[in-house]
Structure formats: structure tokens, C-alpha cells
């Protein structure tokens, strides 16, 4: 059976890159009242084939836990999960990253406009070229037992916790923060070799 699965990995220690992104967006660009926090994850999406969702996660887990090009337990937290419409997908996971509680707030700004609230937009940034992903597929091929992986997406997810009036407003703001169109716009990706896609939007509990 075919499944879609994802691996999210983040540093246990302070992420200096995310800190720099935070400082650039809030101090050098004018997003100080729109942005509450940033988290950065390494992201792998898998098109997998295996006998069951549980087995796919178990097989992938064995590899990603031991292969330092995915995770190193001394410095990373990770979450491996099945996505899509697989029944009971929510409970088929591995790893120690509390993704659904990972909403740090760095600022001290109150919501500026009435009715606004916090949205966490997860933007996947990756290169137009897909050869890193192809490399990982062949890497997995030689290490996986049972489960097969036929395609992958590899990149970084930026979780931008923004202050917005609704979903659309949140996504628009997140994209403005992300895409470098000019010197005064965006920092997280250069569209001439990178793309972004929204892979999740959620509302953190206040």
C-alpha cells in the first residue's frame, strides 16, 4: 500500500539561523508587529510503499534514527508521521518532537488590531532542482528493509507565527516575509532557485 509520510527535525539547542531570521524580519524589515515567533525545521516528505502505515513508520524510523544525515539524537528532536487520509494517521508516529505544541513566541507585542489572532504558517522552502531529494531516495533504497520509497521532497520548513485577521491574511503576510523580491522584501527564499509551498496552517492555543 502507498502512504505519504513526513519527517520533521529541529535542533534541541538554540537555532542561530532562526534567531537571525527573527532579527532580520523584525529589526531590519518592518515586520515587528506582524511576527510573533519563528521555528525552523528540516523537512523530508516521503512517497512510501509498505504493508501498513505502522510498518512504514517503523522502517523509516529505524533508518532516520541511525543515519546522521537525517538526525543525530545528541542535537535533534524529530517527528516521523503518516499524512493524508490514512485512517488513524494521527497516532502513527515516531520520535520526540512535539510539533503540535511547538509555537514559541519571542516578542512582547500584544495583538495590535482587534480581532487579530496568531496563526502558524508552515512554509516549505526547497530548491527548484530536485537532485538532493533523488540522492536521499537512493540513500534510503540501500538502507530500508521492506518499505520502499519512490519519491521525496527535501527542504526546510519555516514556521512563522504571525498576527493576522484570518487564514488568507496570515498566508499573505508569511509569504511577504519569506520571498525576497527586492532588497526591501522577504528573506527566507530567493525565487530564482527556490520555491515555497504552504504545508500547514494552525492556530496555537492561547
Amino acid at each position: 500500500m502507498r502512504f505519504k509520510a513526513e519527517l520533521w527535525v529541529r535542533l534541541k539547542v538554540a537555532d542561530l539561523v532562526a534567531q537571525t531570521a527573527w532579527m532580520t524580519l523584525t529589526e531590519k524589515l518592518d515586520f515587528s508587529s506582524d511576527l510573533h515567533g519563528i521555528v525552523r525545521y528540516s523537512y523530508w516528505g516521503f512517497d512510501a510503499e509498505g504493508e501498513s502505515a505502522e510498518k512504514v513508520i517503523e522502517d523509516l524510523d529505524r533508518v532516520v534514527r541511525l543515519d546522521s544525515s537525517f538526525t543525530n539524537q545528541n542535537k535533534h528532536l524529530y517527528l516521523l508521521r503518516v499524512t493524508g487520509d490514512t485512517p488513524g494517521a494521527d497516532s502513527i508516529t515516531a520520535g520526540d518532537l512535539p510539533l503540535d505544541r511547538d509555537y514559541p513566541v519571542h516578542d512582547t507585542v500584544e495583538n495590535v488590531e482587534a480581532g487579530n489572532k496568531r496563526f502558524a504558517c508552515d512554509l516549505l522552502v526547497r530548491e527548484h532542482r530536485n537532485d538532493r531529494a533523488e540522492g536521499f531516495v537512493s540513500r534510503l533504497e540501500s538502507r530500508l528493509k521492506g518499505t520502499k520509497v519512490s519519491g521525496m521532497k527535501v527542504g526546510e520548513v519555516w514556521r512563522l507565527i504571525v498576527n493576522a485577521s484570518g487564514d488568507e491574511d496570515a498566508v499573505r503576510k508569511a509569504e511577504n516575509m519569506a520571498v525576497t523580491r527586492s532588497r526591501r522584501e522577504g528573506v527566507l527564499l530567493n525565487p530564482h532557485y527556490q520555491t515555497s509551498e504552504l504545508v500547514g496552517i494552525s492556530v496555537p492555543e492561547e
Binding site: 542561530l16 537571525t20 530548491e127 527548484h128 532588497r183 530567493n190
Partner: protein
Amino acid sequence: MATSFKGKVAIIQFPGVNCENETADAIRSVGLDADLFRWNEDPGLLEESLAVVLPGGFSYQDRIRAGVVAAKDTVMDALSDLASAGHPLLGICNGAQVLVESGFIPGIHWERVDLALAPNIMEDREGYYCNWVYLRNEGSSCRWTRLFLEEEVIPVPIAHAEGRFVTRDEDLLEQMIKNGQIVLRYCTDRGDIDSAFPVNPNGSMENIAGICNREGNVLAMMPHPERASWLRQVPEDICGIWGKKRFQAAGDFSRMEDEGPGRRFFASLLEKGPVSASSGCSGQAKEGGR
């Protein structure tokens, strides 16, 4: 840190750059004065400078993407004004990345980011790559390459992980060519353009190693001319005329201290005369030659 940059070349010291001192040395070797400008000093000081150089290194440790954080610094506001007024500005390696992320290069739409310096594409390897390469001067009206002959081959070292000029704008390349903005291309030791690694060391489109703005006063180049400004810096097995010079200088200290192939980028600043605006014709630089 200087209190005045009058008549001097200012080298912008973003936090994390690391080639500022040897760049200053190379500039001084042509008889010009150079001094460091710390990124958070008063940008007004730069107005009196003779030229500005963004040196190589890792501004803000290349966090997020090489050059992007420095591109948003306030000093770039001042450089934007200076550069659009024709002030000479050179970005080397990380400096080139800053110029591209600032939209000064290609600068056809000023400050719009029309290019990227993307991760290298190489045979059998990924990431950082340090080696000597050959450049061909494409003969433009660039302020920084006036002393090179058209199609002159220049050996210099590169050292970077993100040096692949790329754009998704299909017309841009043609416009840049038409404008005479493609200044330097990676080539073989004989000056032939070969798109294969390692002649093209990073997979750059059209083997591009350096691009200037239309007016020719701003140049972004990935190779490091300051590391090729003395003959002693040239490796023994470099081919062509520079290799021959280096070979013959072995055992002779004073000849080894002579100029190297990269020094002329800096010496070009000494050439007087206005830069013709948007000349577009290749071949004009010839007269400025040796």
C-alpha cells in the same frame, strides 16, 4: 577604522567577513589607500571614498542564505545611493552575493532581485569548493576590468559553496548580454568556454563568474582577485603565461613579489576617464589595456 575615507577605497566590514585585510593589502599594492568601514559606522563617511569594496567571507555566517542578511543592513541604503550615482562598487565572493541579494546586480531594475547565487553544482561533490580557475575577460565597459585585454585569460582562485549565477527570468540573460554586463566567464586555460566541471566550477549559467551593472561601475564577481595579486600566490602548475612567469620566478624572491594576475582589477581604478553609460559594446576595454 578610519575617521575619514577621503580619497580612499572603503572596505565594508560586515560581521563575519574575513577577507578584508588581504583585500586592503591588494588595493594598497597598486598605490591606492584603503581602510575598513565597520558595518554600523556612520554611512555618511562613505561619500568621500574613492570606491567601495564588499570583501569575501561569511557576512552573518551565511545564515538563511549567503548575502541576504547583509543586503538588508542600513549601510546598503547609502551604497544604493552611491552606486546609482556612479560610484565604483566591487563585491567579491560574499560581497557579490550581497550585491545580488540587494538587487544592485544586474540592477536593470534597481534593487529588484533578478538573480540568485545558488548552491554549486559539481561533479561528484557538493558544497564548498576551493580551487584555482581561469576567467576570460569578456571585454566590457566595466570600471573594474579596464586594464584587461579582450578575451584575456586570468587565473584566480575561487572558494565558495554558493556561486552559481541563475535566474528564472528567461529574457534577463539576453538583456545582460546586450548590455555588456557579462564581464567574466569561467574558461579553460586557453580561453575556451566549456560548461563541464571543473572548467565551470559551480554550474553557473553561461559559465558566468562576474556581472556588472549596465553602467559598469558595480561589479559582482565570485573569484578572489586579492588572492592572486602577487606572483607568489599563483600555484606552480597554473598554465599559460602566468604559470610560465611563476615557474621562471622560482628561486627569485623579488620576482615572486611582483604583481599577480588579479591585481589589475584594483589597478583599473587608477584608469581615469568616465565610464560610458550603458555602452553595450564589447571590446571597448581594449584600449585601457597594457
